[in-house]
């Protein structure tokens, strides 16, 4: 430690290499421009450079790396979804997550905890059974467990939930995990940067040139770049970008809020989710409880947070854990969730040639980061829709072929 300090004090230049190169100016032309330097955008850039040999890639962001929903989620990773398309997709993501830290040579604090989705009503038990059977059929480890098993995994829980929402059972998903979300963006960013990808922060896209149905270039606050391929991975800003190319989408934006408590000794090992009480909670490596609830009930396109949310979530937390009544909330925040009518994402090609979407990630995008990077980089590099994302195309709406993914976070069913 002392030696490290001395080395930093005596060095005339910063002795450690930086995580990312910071190019001083935008180039004139790129093979691919990725809008959005969050997990999804950087993962796509990383796999484009690593797996597809596309090196002339620029990632543009109006803010900073991982400053959007990548740094605003509650870091839960799972694959216990309801539709076969959803399960196959997220399961691929979970297996990619498991060796990502090796891949990056960076500690992601990936921690497999087990994930319990609590059922407080008979109909919820029925849905949990359904999800468990779909999962097992597709080779994903999920099972229905009784309240005694919940109590064993989390002895501090009040199984009656204050008397008004007794826990009747739970869907247990063993691979459920949490990870440090900033590190995911940094890992992908560093890996991409090392392979020649340019990351331009504080570079807002102000317009996209489309000629004869083809992408020509991108206008930014730091100048114009010409490119034939644009990948849009901007979560809650998606409608603003699709508006630039004249595409209409079913995406609507609601805020999703979350908060953390002050740190305490470890007492909560698994991740607990209650759809009825609108709570999901896990304890981070720092000892803070990371808590989230359901979407705000109406459209707001900003990241404001509200006292109503804190009061509501705290009340439901106390239903489950009355002993937390003296614990303080440390901070709260919001992200802009890009929601779709069927709770499945919108991915792949669009009516504008060369304009690719990785959007509609609403409240369920973090866990999909690696597989989105993989599948979108394939789609962008080859201009062919990857097999795993066929069910998520934008054109499914005009064909009335919705995907109906109701296993998403905090969605009642």
């Amino acid at each position: 430690m002392a030696y490290q300090l001395l080395r930093f004090a005596l060095a005339s230049r910063h002795p450690e290499t930086r995580m990312f190169r910071t190019p001083d100016r935008l180039g004139e032309t790129y093979d691919v421009v990725v809008i959005g330097a969050g997990g999804h955008g950087l993962a796509a850039a990383y796999y484009l450079a690593r797996d597809h040999g596309v090196r002339k890639v620029a990632v543009l962001d109006r803010g900073y790396i991982g400053g959007g929903n990548t740094g605003r989620n509650t870091t839960i990773i799972r694959s216990n979804y309801l539709t076969p398309e959803g399960v196959a997709f997220y399961d691929q993501s979970v297996s990619l997550w498991q060796d990502l830290a090796q891949d990056f040579d960076l500690n992601l604090f990936y921690s497999t905890r087990g994930h319990y989705t609590l059922a407080h009503t008979d109909s919820a038990v029925r849905t949990m059974r359904w999800r468990a059977e779909v999962n097992k059929h597709l080779g994903v480890r999920s099972e229905l467990v009784g309240p005694e098993e919940v109590k064993r995994a989390c002895p501090r829980i009040d199984l009656d939930c204050g008397g008004h929402a007794p826990i009747l059972g739970a869907l247990f998903h063993a691979p459920g995990a949490i990870a440090r979300h900033d590190a995911v963006a940094w890992g992908y960013g560093r890996g991409a940067s090392q392979r020649g990808v340019e990351i331009h922060q504080q570079t807002e896209v102000t317009g996209i040139d489309v000629e004869a149905g083809r992408v020509k270039g991108v206008h930014t606050t730091r100048g114009y770049v010409s490119t034939r391929k644009v990948l849009c991975a901007v979560a809650g800003f998606t409608p603003r970008v699709t508006h630039m190319v004249g595409i209409r989408t079913p995406i609507y934006v609601h805020p999703l809020q979350a908060m953390v408590s002050e740190p305490m000794k470890p007492w909560l090992d698994p991740i607990l989710v209650s759809g009825s009480l609108h709570v999901y909670v896990s304890q981070s490596a720092r000892g803070e409880l990371v808590m989230g609830a359901s979407l705000d009930p109406y459209e707001v396109q900003s990241t404001r947070s509200t006292l109503d949310f804190t009061e509501g979530l705290a009340a439901h937390m106390l239903d489950m854990f009355p002993f937390l009544s003296h614990v303080r909330v440390n901070r709260q925040w919001a992200g802009m969730a890009d929601m779709t009518p069927d709770f499945a994402p919108v991915m792949g090609k669009t009516p504008v040639e060369g304009f690719y979407l990785d959007a509609g990630w609403g409240t369920w995008g973090f866990k999909a980061t690696p597989v989105c990077g993989k599948t979108m980089s394939y789609t962008v590099a080859t201009d062919r829709t990857h097999e795993l994302i066929r069910a998520f195309s934008l054109s499914r709406f005009e064909r009335y072929e919705l995907t109906g993914e109701k296993g998403a976070a905090s969605v009642g069913h």
Binding site: P250, Y298, E299, S302, L307, D308, P341, F397
Partner: protein, 86 residues
């Protein structure tokens, strides 16, 4: 607690209201499948001032509101069929 002005009951806490979505023009019977899909699914997702349906649950009142969806400021509220207040 945020307040919203119901045209019948005056200012009430926003928790008494349900959001009904943006007001949209329904296409006529002669529309194509694609036009109908556009009406059913697609939304004007960009921020701005929008006219929306809101419902006051306690009194069963549907009404219209003009709201800036970026700032979350309600500018006006009125009942359907009424003149839009200035």
């Amino acid at each position: 607690m945020k307040l919203l002005r119901c045209p019948v009951n005056g200012a009430r806490p926003v928790s008494e209201f349900v959001y009904g979505g943006e007001v949209r023009e329904m296409p006529g019977d002669a529309c194509t499948d694609a036009e109908w899909a556009d009406y059913v699914f697609n939304r004007s997702g960009i921020p701005g001032v929008k006219i929306e349906w809101w419902y006051h649950v306690a009194s069963g009142t549907w009404f219209l509101a003009k709201r800036d969806v970026a700032a979350d400021h309600v500018l006006q509220t009125w009942l359907p069929g009424e003149e839009v207040p200035e």
